[in-house]
Structures are given as structure tokens and as C-alpha cells.
């Protein structure tokens, strides 16, 4: 088997007495799209933040292209991060910067792209998430939650990254926009060959954007399979997700 693009090996993370991840093992192959499912508060966001180096696990390691990045120093990590895009659950837009500078942040501050060019590319990225060019000069506080999420998405994909993380990309969006976003993510993977890890609660989204699906519960992956296997899975938690019926889940 080829080296996975990204791999979690026995990752444990706790906050005080709250044990969130407990020896989590998971991997994503190059050019695949993984959907991470799980109930609220089970540590899906923490899983991604550990992979990004934003949280340091107590045990285990994270491998990017086969290289252990868990305890990398600043310079090395900047290099590892160059090809990564992340959409945060709460969008996490810089509220002191207008929308276009948010979207073009990496271009301007890390890639040294001239501001005029960064602006043009930011407006282009905004178009991909169905936002009008006029939005570019607004400030994040002037946008609705759904619009902020889309700006966050535009920011994540603006630097042509090869590994993408989406934390609940369609939560809070209307079905039409959500459908467009799902297609955009799908497109990034199929036509550009990106690897994607998306957190979602929405099975319809998962089926659209993901090749593989993993279910996180109690700090471990309790079920993993392809998107098409979802409907026939016999794990009670997956069944409960599919049917929307909490019976059988403690």
C-alpha cells in the first residue's frame, strides 16, 4: 500500500479530565475525500486540529506524506503547512480585515503575491463559493453566518492547497448553496487531485463529497467504509445516523 497522504497513529488528546481522543487511528489516501462523521462533542474538530498541529496530542503521532509532523518546529511546519487549506467550524475570519484580504491572506502574507493580484485571485475564489465581487470590500462582521462560512471556504482553497480540511462546510447554509458547496469540494478532489477531510453531520453531504466515511465515537474510529456502504452498515451508530432514529444508541 502506498504511503497515505495523512495518517493519525494512536493519537490521544485530553483536556483535564475530559478524554477526547483515545488512541485514534485513521488515514486518508492521496486524492481521496474522507468524511468524518460523529455526534456533537465527540472530538471531530479536535481530530483535525491535532492533524494541523494546532493542538499537541499526549500520545501518538500525525504523519503527513509519511513524515511525522507532530512536534515540528516553526520553519519546518511552515513548509508543511504551505499546501494545506482549512475551513474552521466558526469560519474564524480575521475581523480587522476586509473579505478580500481574508481570502487572499496566504497569498499576501506567505506567498508574497502583490496586493492587486491577490485581490483579483480572491474575487475569483469568492466566485467559486457563489459570492459576488461586491462582498470583497465588506468586513466579516457585515456578513451573515452562512456568508462568513463561504468566505472561510474561499480562503481555504485560495492558495491552491493539495490537502483540504473542512469543518462542517455546509452547516447553516440553505440547501441550494449547500449543494453548490458540496459540488465545489467534490470538484477540488476529482478534477484537481486534492485530498480532503470533511467533518459533517449531513449524510447527503457525506455521500456527495466523500469517497470514504469514518465514524468517530468515544475517541476512536468505530466504523469505516466507502460512502456507498453507509446504507448497509450494521454498526448501530451508523444505522442511527442513516435512519435518524436514536434507538439502539446509548
Amino acid at each position: 500500500m502506498a504511503t497515505p497522504k495523512l495518517e493519525w497513529r494512536g493519537v490521544s488528546k485530553r483536556f483535564g479530565a475530559n478524554k477526547v481522543l483515545d488512541g485514534l487511528d485513521l488515514s486518508v489516501a492521496e486524492g481521496r475525500s474522507l468524511a468524518l462523521l460523529g455526534r456533537s462533542g465527540q472530538g471531530k474538530s479536535v481530530t483535525i486540529k491535532v492533524a494541523l498541529g494546532l493542538m499537541v496530542p499526549e500520545a501518538g503521532s500525525v504523519l503527513l506524506d509519511g513524515v511525522d509532523v507532530t512536534h515540528q518546529r516553526e520553519r519546518e511546519r511552515r513548509a508543511s503547512f504551505a499546501g494545506i487549506g482549512m475551513l474552521f467550524q466558526g469560519a474564524a475570519l480575521f475581523d480587522s480585515l476586509p473579505v478580500w484580504e481574508n481570502v487572499g491572506f496566504r497569498l499576501i502574507n506567505a506567498d508574497g503575491v502583490p496586493r492587486a493580484e491577490a485581490r483579483a485571485r480572491a474575487i475569483e475564489a469568492l466566485g467559486l463559493v457563489r459570492l459576488a465581487p461586491e462582498v470583497a470590500d465588506l468586513y466579516p462582521s457585515e456578513l451573515s453566518g452562512g456568508m462568513q462560512k463561504r468566505v472561510g471556504l474561499a480562503r481555504a482553497i485560495a492558495g491552491q492547497p493539495s490537502l483540504l480540511f473542512f469543518d462542517e462546510p455546509t452547516t447553516g447554509l440553505d440547501p441550494i448553496t449547500a449543494g453548490a458547496i458540496n459540488e465545489l469540494i467534490r470538484d477540488k478532489v476529482t478534477s484537481l487531485g486534492c485530498t480532503a477531510v470533511s467533518i459533517t453531520h449531513d449524510l447527503h453531504s457525506a455521500r456527495t463529497i466523500a469517497d470514504d466515511v469514518a465514524m468517530l465515537d468515544a475517541g476512536r474510529i468505530v466504523w469505516q467504509g466507502s460512502a456507498s456502504e453507509l446504507d448497509h452498515a450494521d454498526h448501530p451508530l451508523v444505522r442511527a445516523f442513516v435512519t435518524g432514529n436514536p434507538a439502539g444508541v446509548e
Binding site: 494546532l54 474552521f88 474564524a92
Partner: protein, 266 residues
Amino acid sequence: MPHSAPGGVIGWVNALGRAVLDGVAAVGRVGHFAARGVAAAVTPPWYPRQILGQFMAVGFLSLPVVGLTAWFTGAALALNIYSGGDRFNAETVMPQIVALGITRELGPVLAALMLAGRVASAMASEIGAMRATEQVDAMFTLSTEPRRYLIAPRLIAATVSLPLLTLLADLIGVAGGMQVSKLLIDLPYSIYITNTVDFITRWDVESGLIKSAVFGFIIGLMGCYHGDTAKGGARGVGRATTSAMVSSAVLILAADYLISSIFARL
């Protein structure tokens, strides 16, 4: 706890020991944060726009409050020399006392205290809010070091701006004293200025500026440190804001005494 008498002493010793250890650990954390902040400030990459923006926020926008403070301080100093100092005819040396007091002590300290209130708190709340809303994390994922983008510009701007503001405070403080001298003892402006200039030495002004650079660094450091370590959402940010203000004010006064006593020995 009336029944804790036997264990009371041990409890006290334990608490004291813990407090000392906590204190040492806190100093260590701040020192580590400061060292990394300075390292980021003196090595590339720099973000000129951020540095400029901080100069605007820390330096330029503090001009009114520092100017007003200096004016009233100079004026009040002159007034007190007049009404309290007439016991030994100090009004004849009013310009000299005002100049000395403003340049060596009151200019640097009061400008710094004003900035502790205005700037350290603003930095803490800004960075704290960015932490709480994951903006700092987002910056990491965009290949930009928050330490370089957020912390370094603030440290640079605070350390450089405060001496400049202090220079301005020196000027305006002398002007305030001059105005009061004119009103109270009818001392002509020209003589007031001549006396001030003849009396004051380079070192009087320079020692104040050296102090204020240290104070500026303290303000930037406390603002950034408390913002960066803020925990627990809006409440945490509120606490960080207060801590930044109080700790920078206390550290400024302590550093003032320390530096003054070093200078006194030179």
C-alpha cells in the same frame, strides 16, 4: 476553618510554597514569551503593514491623551511649586523643577501609565478575542506565524512609540508649566524657556527616554501575553484586559524605581 489549627501552619506553608512556585512559573512563562516575541521582532519575515498599523494605533492615536496628561502635569507641578515651594522661594526655580520632574520622571511614567490603560488593554482584548474565535489558529493554517504577524509588530510599535510620545510629553509638560508660571508669577515665556534650556542636560532627557523604551516594551509584552493566554471566551478576554492593564502599570512603576536606582549610581 476553626478546626484546622494543627494542620493550619502546614497548610499555610503549603499555600505559600505553591504561591511562590506559581509566581516563579509565571515569570518563566512571561520570560519565555518575551524571548520568543523579541526573536520574532528582530528576525525576518516582517509585516510592514502590521507594524505601521500598530504605530498608528499605539503611537499616533495616543497623542491626544499623552498631550493632555503632560500639559496638566506640567501645569500642576508649577502650581505646587508655587504654593508649596514658596516656603523656600522655590518659585524662582520653577522652570528648573518642572523640567527636571517632567523629563526624568513624570513624562515617561505618566505617558506609560496612560498607554497601559489605552494600549495594553486594547492589545489584550484584540488578541484574546482572536484566540477565542480561532483567528490565531486560522493564521497558522495560512502559513503565517501569529507571533510575527501579531506579537512582533505590537512589541516593536510600543517600544519605539513610547519614547517618541515621551519626548512630546516633555515638550508639552514644559509648555504647561510655562503657562502657569506666566499666570502666577508673571515670569515671561522667554525667560522660562531660557532657564529650562540652560538648566536641563541631555542626560535628563535621555534617561527619561531610555526608561520609556523599557516601559513601552512592558506595555506591548503584557498586552500580548495576557491576550495570547486568555481562556474561556468573552469572560476570559475581559479578565485578560484587566490583567494586562494592571500588570503593566505595576511593572512600569517597579521598573521605574529599578532603572532610576541604577541611573542614580552611574
